[in-house]
């Protein structure tokens, strides 16, 4: 039930993710440096953390997507391994083509750093089974490019396949259809802009993000 946290130059939420897995979930976890091509078979879940990989140059996630480890991450995901991309991690997964759509600049052109309310729209995923459908949770966002874009056909597809996991109650960034987090068609890759690793302990103001990690542990117990 090993977790791996991928670290890029400019990642800054890697420690938070690591600490949540190790200290809150009490699960084994390793850091994985982006320049390596490790054997990922021993891992059940990879976390692509937030931050500003490669300074967000060119487009957010565009350079990190070509880091040596990403080739392995893509294969891992294609074989059904669990991958969660948070914030910049979400942007990297979009650039890598593991999730559909693209990320645009927030409509108000501000870097937005605040707690937002999310509605849990799908509990049918390894990432959200510990929530109740329709439940409202409070999780912080901190991003400049969280304005999710997908074309009409793509959006229809997401809805048809129940791929939208989290929606903003009040849209902060212009994201299409209020989308804050979604899974791929195979439901083993989640991308989300809000930060569950910053809201997994009450001492940080909210523990509403913790069920995401607990859902993962629960899923791994059931599926090996």
């Amino acid at each position: 039930m090993n977790f791996g946290v991928v670290v890029f130059p400019g990642s800054n939420c890697d420690r938070d993710c690591f600490d949540v897995v190790r200290d809150v979930l009490k699960q084994p976890v390793d850091f994985l440096w982006h320049k390596e091509k490790p054997n990922l078979d021993q891992y059940s879940c990879l976390i692509i953390p937030g931050g500003f990989s490669y300074g967000d140059y060119l487009r957010c996630g565009a350079i990190a997507r070509f880091s040596p480890i990403m080739e392995k991450v893509i294969k891992f995901a294609e074989k059904g391994g669990l991958v969660i991309g948070i914030c910049n991690g979400f942007q990297i997964l979009l650039e890598a083509g593991l999730l559909p759509g693209a990320m645009m600049r927030n409509t108000n052109l501000h870097f937005i750093c605040k707690y937002v309310d999310l509605k849990v729209d799908s509990v049918n995923s390894p990432f959200s089974s510990q929530y109740k459908k329709g439940q409202t949770i409070r999780v912080p966002i901190a991003h400049n490019e969280g304005n999710y874009y997908i074309d009409d056909a793509g959006l229809a597809e997401l809805k048809k396949n129940d791929q939208i996991v989290f929606r903003y109650v009040t849209n902060p960034n212009g994201a299409r259809d209020d989308i804050a987090g979604l899974v791929n068609k195979n439901r083993n890759v989640l991308g989300m802009m809000p930060h569950p690793e910053r809201s997994s302990e009450m001492i940080l103001g909210s523990a509403d993000g913790r069920p995401i990690f607990e859902s993962l542990v629960d899923w791994m117990k059931k599926h090996g």
């Binding site: 060119l58 350079i63 759509g101 645009m104 600049r105 409509t107 874009y149 212009g174």
Partner: protein
Amino acid sequence: MFQADVEVMLKDTVADPQGITVLTSGTALGIKGLEDVRMGKLIQVKIEANNSEEAKNKIDEFSKKLLTNPVIEHYRIGQVVQL
């Protein structure tokens, strides 16, 4: 050595929050008749190649693979100049 500019723009179907803000600001400054502002990137590339066609093909590959995200952007390669 060859050089060319790659112009990257958001697709017409994609809203451009920066462009809209600049348009609003320009109108507020009293610039009359402003209809639309779209913002993009200009990326200047220098590349070694045997001829300009090869240079253009290589820049095209570079543009497709890294410089643009085809979900939201399109690009145009300007004149390839030999240096």
